[in-house]
């Protein structure tokens, strides 16, 4: 052995590690996931080909990718905002359900005359409900330091069951032949669509939120406080930044944004509330935020990529009769791989000539 391997900690990282390494790790993840699929008796080549052709092979596919990316961008921003302060909001899924539930309530109980008024009311309802759902965890965290990972997660289950209660119970459409769903929304409660596709007004909300996220984090006092706490909570405290108040406020806003994703999803896409309307967008949002390294533009790009996976997942579900779970396997592998490649970001691997002894 004339050489030895030495690990050096990296303290500065350049463009390569911020921009290119994530791409390499995603490619590696697709290879890993391909291996896993092969192990599970699924041809990875056929699966990937069908996925990418289904998602990117046509204008329709592309528009569907954008449709799926909308809730991911919105809830991705929600999650990234919390993560920026190192607050683990794993509860976007439940907040999405609460937002959808509240906007469905607005449709049910308010007169549906004017579209603008209706949509504004739905948005307000979604923001308040989603925000309140996040605030519960934020308040508990700020007041008694209750672990927010667990509370937000438990609130996911509670929120989904709560929505189920209304969908299966009092709000069920009597003319749906027993299918659990609310009656279809009136046209005034639907978001306008673009270009004859299913892309809805939510796409503008998503872009706007990304810009706003950038603006708030970068240029406002509150954004500075979030960053300060996220980077070093102790130092922030000494600087006089109130942790408790910020956690509660942050979780309200994070939840409110996720709630908005629930509203755009049912008002833009589904036109009614039905069980399982979100195929885990709130969880995928966590991957989105993490892969994007909490960077606003990154959130958009990663959401698009995840949209490709989801639309592709639908395609292989139809063509290859594979369950949507295969997408989950791929997502899990992507996270593993990105975490694994962190190693190269954190350490420099050196091959040193061994000194003669």
């Amino acid at each position: 052995m004339r050489y030895r391997i030495v690990l050096r900690r990296r303290y500065k990282t350049g463009v390569f590690f911020e921009g290119i390494l994530p791409v390499i790790s995603i490619i590696a993840a697709l290879l890993f996931a391909g291996g896993a699929l092969l192990l599970f008796g699924v041809s990875p080549l056929a699966a990937y080909r069908a996925m990418f052709r289904g998602a990117l092979g046509s204008g329709y596919g592309l528009s569907e990718v954008i449709v799926k990316a909308i809730p991911l961008v919105i809830s991705g921003v929600a999650v990234a905002l919390a993560f920026r302060m190192k607050v683990w909001n794993i509860g976007a899924e439940g907040q999405i359900y609460l937002g959808a539930l509240a906007s469905a309530a607005a449709v049910r109980f308010l007169p549906s005359g004017n579209q603008v008024v209706m949509l504004l009311a739905m948005t307000a309802a979604a923001i308040i409900a989603g925000g309140a759902w996040g605030y519960i965890a934020g308040f508990l965290k700020s007041r008694w330091n209750v672990n927010e990972v667990i509370t937000t997660l438990m609130l996911n289950y509670v929120g989904i069951h709560l929505a189920d209660h209304f969908i299966y119970g009092p709000w069920r459409d009597p003319s749906s032949l027993g299918f659990p769903m609310t009656p279809p929304f009136p046209p005034s409660a639907r978001l306008p669509l673009f270009f004859g596709t299913r892309v809805h007004l939510g796409v503008l909300a998503a872009v706007l939120l990304v810009l706003l996220f950038r603006l708030v984090i970068r240029w406002t006092r509150w954004g500075f406080e979030i960053r300060a706490i996220g980077d070093n909570p102790r130092a922030a405290e000494y600087a006089g930044i109130n942790y408790g108040r910020n956690v509660a406020l942050l979780m309200f806003i994070s939840g409110a944004i996720a709630g908005l994703a629930g509203m755009t999803e049912i008002a833009g896409l589904q036109g009614r509330l039905q069980p399982g309307f979100s195929p885990g967008y709130g969880y995928t949002a966590i991957i989105v935020a993490w892969l994007a390294r909490l960077n606003p533009w990154g959130i958009m790009m990663v959401s698009f990529f995840m949209g490709v996976l989801l639309v592709g997942g639908d395609t292989i579900q139809v063509i290859m009769r594979l369950p949507l779970a295969s997408v989950q396997v791929i997502q899990g592998c992507i996270l593993f791989s990105v975490l694994g490649f962190e190693f190269f970001r954190n350490y420099k691997v050196l091959l040193l000539r061994r000194e003669r002894e």
Partner: protein, 309 residues
């Protein structure tokens, strides 16, 4: 009392899978690693245990397989948390995502099948004791093994040299390294064993509880176990209390539903989750009042020998 005995027996039964997962996570967290992948590990355990039992007819082989599947998957988590020093929250979520996806992808052909699995084996003499007999000693073998496991862990963690090392690496890996032991090796070991135990908890669901496989059948029990570790203050004996309390809430919920009340089912199904939040709240309030909650000092903090300070 006669009404309560079946409920208490059911509490033990439905608390057992949570107990296995909680005990496993106690070991993992005592070593300083947090594994939030319990939910995925339980699902992989439930699936792999079921599928091996279905094809071989031997439930013991199923449990063994589940254990090793759990060990293998948590080895990935150990690699990322210990060797790479990656974020353990995200890595745990990845385990859950992968486990949920892989189990439902692999298990899609198993839906609707049943196995004989584990049946009731009343313990002679002990099961004759009034109240405690039917509640504690009229179950399947996996329940009895969990009793043994609790006693073993109580002895192992607090009374043996190995247990001392385990606690030390969770408190201060630097010290363990200075003692000439490898902190990394210990963390790998207990993360893997803990993951295996969570998977056995999952196998309990498919082999003894329902005797069939269902997509997502752990239904959040893995997450409840993560919360229970805090409730149990990393102590195996309190884990028993917590697990059966939760089992009891679940059992009551099923009974009230079966009794045909007009109370809507989805609202009932929220109970265990709300209860988890409540329990966590009580613990945190106590902790805030300065009542000692002894969490492993280095929990969730990556440690690298090269960078010790």
């Amino acid at each position: 009392m006669d009404v309560l005995i079946p409920v208490m027996a059911a509490a033990v039964r439905s608390g057992t899978p949570i107990l296995y997962a909680t005990l496993g996570e106690i070991l993992t967290e005592r070593s300083g690693v947090q594994n939030l992948g319990l939910e995925g590990l339980m699902l992989m355990g439930a699936f792999s245990g079921f599928s091996v039992t279905y094809s071989t007819g031997d439930p013991w082989l199923g449990v063994l397989t589940a254990f090793f599947v759990g060990v293998a998957i948590s080895a990935v988590h150990a690699f990322l948390s210990v060797s790479v020093g990656a974020n353990q929250v995200v890595s745990g979520l990845a385990v859950t995502m992968f486990g949920t996806g892989a189990s439902s992808l692999l298990g899609r052909k198993m839906i609707g099948l049943t196995v004989k699995g584990f049946g009731k084996v009343p313990v002679p003499l002990l099961s004759e004791i009034p109240v405690a007999g039917p509640v504690l000693f009229d179950h399947d073998p996996l329940v009895y093994i969990s009793y043994g496991l609790v006693l073993f862990l109580l002895w192992f963690i607090f009374r043996t040299r190995q247990g001392l090392n385990l606690r030390a690496v969770g408190e201060s890996p630097v010290v363990v390294d200075a003692m000439g032991l490898s902190a990394a090796r210990l963390r790998y070991l207990y993360t893997m064993i803990g993951g295996g135990m969570a998977a056995v908890g999952g196998a309990y669901l498919s082999l003894a509880y329902t005797k069939m496989w269902g997509e997502g059948m752990s239904a959040g029990r893995g997450w409840i176990a993560v919360a229970l570790v805090i409730f149990a203050v990393w102590h195996p004996a309190r884990a028993v209390l917590g697990a059966y309390l939760f089992g009891g809430v679940g059992a009551m919920q099923l009974r009230i539903q079966a009794a045909g009340t007009s109370f809507p089912a989805p609202i009932m199904m929220m109970m265990p989750y709300l209860f988890t939040i409540l329990v966590l709240l009580v613990i945190s309030v106590k902790k805030g009042k300065g009542i000692l909650i002894d969490a492993p000092g280095a929990l969730g903090v990556p440690y690298s020998r090269e960078e010790r300070t």
